[in-house]
Symmetry: C2
Subunit: 314 residues, 2 copies
């Protein structure tokens, strides 16, 4: 299939074309560049879809909460795409969706597209792949794109820089609030969700979060803290309302446009760096780098001098 | 203090100089390059220290296990450095060590150096900073360098590429085995530790791991699975023995040298990429990138074309 045909399929919202285009992103396949050109040409309103990031530790209820958000969006007649990003899959090639029973309830709904994506280590990773996958979904006309990621660490930061709104999920009794402070998620959260709010310790988690949010004070958007029991659908309306208020804030303050600009900037940077890295492999050659590494091991050079030689060879 | 003086202090193993040199790495301060040159010149045997990575989800007992390893090494008369890497700290500037009661037992032992390190997002991150911090500790004559990191994801992969041996910690009843498979930690573990082995489900966790290790089959080193109750010191001898066997395997198979070469290679690459990124900022200029991002938002360019323009400007 030509890039033009594939792009047309995506722009018509055909699920198969969308899946194929995302695979092209995932594998950095040939034709991705041509596809991207065609998509940009063909999109009536780029950056139209609302991108919501969803993150939290394993077991906190991300998939169930995603299910809740899908239901709410479908009830409004919106088309929804879910991108489950597995930042740990350079090795496994990860199939994240196996255990997502709740989400599979939507597998037969043509208005819902669910896809897991591995972000392989040898490319630019999440920062490279995710904005391109989001473009495909945006081009396909999805109104809401939920980007879900696991774990604590850099992936969250990357997700936050992609999303219009970022939801950070916690659950009681996981030592969350301390972990939250550690992980810097306070700074990335636009909305906090304390899920499994029927469990012991939920109120303490909410209180701890509230204190931390109050202390962090400086931003003009103070992240609301929503209590949910996602498995029973409790708190769903509150979460949707909180997201809506954040969307209004983004529009009114100009922050929304600023975030989209930053996303565009990050995407360009990631493509530049990945391109340079590829060129480093080609021009300077594996052998050159190996020889420099040998010299470093033998203390015949230092890493900065070695790096200079690689750059000079570029 | 000049780079030469600082390097001399590090090479004499002075704690204050070591701490200062690691801050220089952490902040990518001026003089880091000169310090590195002096260290490389002054080291009698570079890449001498044994680097052991330690990773696992929050709450699994990493700090306690690190304490166990410190004790065992001290009993052998080895000097030990602990580098606690917080990959999530572009925002917080992380102070990971606050809750490390067990480790603080060693705070007054002059043969033990403990340090947390933030790896800020705007630099090359962990891949850039960690090997340089390890060089400082190696130059200061520590025999064992324990690199500890939190979370699931890219950080683990990075740690594994730094370390001679990587320990992956699990605990029963955290849905570990499934999470382990997801996170690709099977591939990075040289030794598995099932900590809190006195808890319910420990045997199941061990059994699940054993099955997975058996299935992954292809490597010539099959990661042993050690059960510990680190809080009571149980299993410590088994863990040390497993690490010793792995060290023998590394030496006998040539894998040890291959890993050090890969570490040197990765360090050079990280310095190259960080250098190019910095140059991208300087030459092409923030305004140029902003203008390209604006064009992307307006669909007047595509990200690949924009990236070409940035590269051309370099």
């Amino acid at each position: 299939m030509s890039a033009g045909d594939l792009a047309e399929g995506v722009l018509r919202g055909e699920v198969r074309a969308v899946a194929r285009a995302i695979s092209l992103v995932e594998n950095a396949g040939p034709g991705l560049r041509a596809l991207t050109e065609e998509l940009v040409k063909g999109m009536r309103e780029p950056y139209r879809a609302r991108v919501v990031g969803l993150t939290g530790a394993p077991g906190v209820g991300k998939s169930t909460s995603t299910g809740t958000l899908i239901e709410a969006a479908r009830a409004r007649g919106e088309r929804v795409a879910v991108l489950a990003v597995d930042p740990s899959s350079p090795f496994t090639g990860g199939a994240l969706l196996g255990d997502r029973v709740r989400m599979q309830a939507h597998a037969t709904d043509p208005g819902v597209f669910i896809r897991s994506m591995a972000t392989r280590g040898h490319l630019g990773g999440l920062a490279w792949a995710a904005p391109q996958a989001i473009r495909v979904l945006d081009a396909a006309g999805y109104d809401l794109i939920l980007v879900e990621t696991v774990g604590v660490g850099q992936a969250e930061v990357d997700i936050a820089s992609l999303a219009d709104s970022t939801i950070v999920l916690l659950a009681p009794g996981m030592g969350d609030s301390v972990q939250a402070a550690k992980a810097g998620i306070l700074e990335i959260a636009d909305v906090f969700v304390v899920n499994k709010a029927d469990r012991d310790g939920a109120q303490e988690t909410v209180r701890d979060l509230r204190n931390m949010v109050a202390l962090s004070g400086s931003r003009d958007w103070r992240p609301p803290i929503v209590s949910t029991v996602a498995a029973r659908g409790e708190g769903a309306a509150d979460l949707v309302a909180a997201l809506d208020r954040h969307a209004e804030h983004l529009a009114a303050s100009g922050e929304g446009r600023a975030r989209r600009l930053a996303r565009a900037r990050d995407e360009i940077e990631a493509i530049v760096l990945t391109g340079l890295r590829a060129r480093m492999g080609e021009i300077s050659g594996d052998r050159h780098l190996d020889a420099l590494a040998e010299a470093l091991l033998a203390a015949k050079t230092d890493p900065y001098r070695a790096a200079d030689q690689v750059i000079a060879a570029l």
